[in-house]
Amino acid sequence: MALLIKLAGGHIYDPTQNRQGEPGDLFIRDGLITSAPGTDAKFDQVYDLSGHIVMAGAVDIHTHIAGGNVNTARLLLPEQHRNHVARRLRTALDRATLPGSIDTDGEPVDHPFSNAKWSTTDTGYRYARMGYTTVVEPAMLPINALDVHLQMADIPILDTAALAILGNDDLLLRLMRAKASQSQINDYVAWTLHATRALGLKVINAGGANAFKSNARHFALDDIVPDYGVSSRQILQTLQTAVCQLGVPHPVHVHCNNLGIPGNVDTIVATMEAAQGLPMHLAHVQFYAYGNEGAKGFSSAAAQLLEAFNRHPNITMDVGQVLFGQTVTISGDVIAQYSRHADASPGKWVMWDAECEGSGGVVPYRYREASFVNTLQWAIGLELFLLAEAPERLFFTTDHPNGAPFTAYPELIRLLMDADYRQAYMARLNQEALAMTLLPNLKREFTLTEIATMTRSAAANLLGLHDRGHLAPGAIADIAVYDPQGCGVSIQMPDPFANRAKPDYRAMFADAALVFKNGRLMVRDGEVIARPAGHAQTIQPALDQRIERDIQNHFDRFYSLKLNNFKIEDVDISRDDHQRFQRVGLL
């Protein structure tokens, strides 16, 4: 029997259909959005959403939620978990804890694994409460693919996907050194996407992690990887071409060279030029919008970056906004991570090398409001958002957890949507840094339509996930409903803006009033009420299977792992593969 649900009278924001807040009805049948069923239809459920804001479920294109680095960071920082438990115990002592009551984190105390900080459950619940329904892990080292998929399968509610990393792996560089044909490399890329059940391809500082092993501590776009004789540019262009020729919808997802180094805006502009006019996604560009001017040799180059961005319509970017507070940086860019290990706070860090494939590092870090550098980073990210002319090509991320944990998204939305709040916030930051940016003079405020574009329609489009990110009939019924009055369970801070006409967008986006996943209600008034398993989105481009012979030989010679254990084939993640993995169409 078909289940028919009506969402009545909400203000609908859906850039795909050019709906900008006009009140209207939505209908859900069997987990899909459907057109109006006619006047004599009988609804199983009706929700009155008058005064509420309705959007598609949000899509996060770049968030490190699973994998080797994430687990290493968890192991490095057990005190986070201990402090979380201690906080909960204090709360429990302070008042009688009743089922369904809320602790100081705004977390229901009785949900499964609620005593585990930063668990997969925590990830799923906190994303769902904000109205997110699809998230993408952008850095899956192929050798960690099984770990990534097991962790993602353990994240409740959300649909997930992962991007496989190539570009520092021995086999690719060997193929390129041996002047292998592009079609041979296409086969290797396609085979990797199949074997790791990925949605796309990620390139991290191409060749850099390999050069690091030969003691390179800087690696620019035209530097040559020792022993292999190929440049970073050649690797990047070869992989970009492969992704295009294979028809993978998501463009090659690039973490550029020289991350975090003053003056690196030249690097990212050169990378745009190197993109040959073909699609390319540049990740967390805030970390590349750095000039080397001023007394401290560190300045904002946001305007310069955006000028180049406007000249290159083939390029998409996500921001990687920095927000203040404690976090932990995790990256496969071992050169960048090693260069800042001395800044670790608390003072402990991990650098690692994975067999034949790449390396990375985990460095805990606290972004401080009083810091010149951190304030400048914060301001540069906001400059990028506010000065960009094409929000449909610029995406909303904090590079979780590198710029800030994803739980800070509501705060970031408020900074973008509320110029007065932004102005007031700047008062407590490093004024010397702010004076070097355009930010204090920027009055732009994002509209709900622009937020919906960045976090919904454009994001889903960029990934090739055409069944979501919008509310047109036929889309899966991933829907987030927000109450401008704030319905949530988060503890409201004393706030001079509390009595204004403009909603507190932070409170609004922190706790959705309702969240549907595949037409099923997951969150009500900021509380998770169901936790079904999600699906992993994958891509399966065609390839010449003969490449596996070469890969088999390489594995037998150099890996400790057997090729059959490397491929994700018969993985027992408590559901059959066809229930866990969903195939996304090629271009």
Binding site: L76, L77, P78, E79, R82, L89, P346, G347, K348
Partner: protein, 270 residues
């Protein structure tokens, strides 16, 4: 005034968190108030008088009788006063204690004197692993005070230790003094493998020749004038360390761990 005595009514299946029952937290409370304190016992919370018979008044002198190895966090953050444990103690005995004394007549579990700051902790039986260590993920273990163990200790004694002294009359397990930053560990009995693994500074004072890693260098035999002063400081202890014939000043000195900064030392009596 007689000592405030908690006598365990019967052994529990689940562990008990004893951290509320320390001298400074009980000061000024009457028996009714103390009886009503709730202790975490496994997943449930139980009143003190459900678990213990309570006698005596003096909150600055606490006795825990019929104690066993399920009583965790005894003397946590103790700040003055004394706690005497009759029987065994569980994990985290005297964790982060600031001052005062703790005495255990039996054995203790993992992480005794974990991140201890000052005071005196005496264990008449054996101690478990990570004596005077740091909590996992933390970078500094014991930061001051004295730990005296009359029996043997487990592995990783003094892991990440920063200051203070650990005196062991019996034997020490593997990795004694591992990742030590500073401080003194004295062992009258034998020591296990990987002594002083990755130690940066600090002193391991041994009565018996250890099995040393290749990253420790023999620095020759020495007569050290500070040793008699060190032994003199043990005089007030009820221990073999205070015997007149325990003291010596002639040692073989080894420097290490050279895989770290290498400024630690192992002194072996000759």
């Amino acid at each position: 005034m007689s000592a405030l005595t908690f006598t365990l009514k019967q052994p529990t299946d689940q562990r008990i968190d004893m951290s509320p029952l320390v001298c400074q937290k009980l000061q000024g409370m009457d028996v009714d108030a103390i009886s009503a304190i709730e202790l975490q016992n496994g997943k449930s919370r139980r009143r003190v008088d459900e678990l213990f018979y309570i006698t005596g008044m003096n909150t600055q002198e606490i006795i825990i009788a019929y104690s066993n190895n399920k009583l965790d966090f005894i003397g946590k953050e103790l700040d003055g006063g004394s706690i005497s444990v009759q029987g065994d103690a569980g994990a985290y005995l005297g964790m982060q204690m600031k001052s005062g004394t703790i005495n255990v007549s039996g054995d203790t579990g993992l992480y005794a004197a974990c991140e201890m700051k000052n005071g005196l902790l005496q264990i008449d039986g054996d101690a478990g692993d990570f004596l005077g260590g740091a909590l996992p993920g933390n970078k500094q273990g014991m930061k001051g005070g004295t730990v005296l163990v009359k029996g043997n200790v487990g592995q990783r004694a003094g892991d990440h230790m920063r200051r203070g002294q650990i005196l062991i009359e019996g034997n020490a397990g593997d990795y004694c003094g591992s990742r030590m930053l500073a401080g003194t560990i004295a062992v009258m009995g034998t020591t296990g493998r990987y002594l002083g693994y990755a130690m940066r500074r600090g002193t391991l004072l041994l009565w018996n020749q250890p099995q040393l890693s290749a990253t420790f260098n023999d620095c020759g035999s020495h007569t050290l004038a500070f040793l008699p002063i060190l032994f003199a400081s043990f005089k007030s202890l009820n221990s073999r360390f205070s015997d007149n014939n325990a003291a010596f000043n002639r040692v073989q000195r080894y420097g290490g761990d050279m895989a770290e900064t290498g400024r630690g030392e192992v002194l072996v009596r000759i």
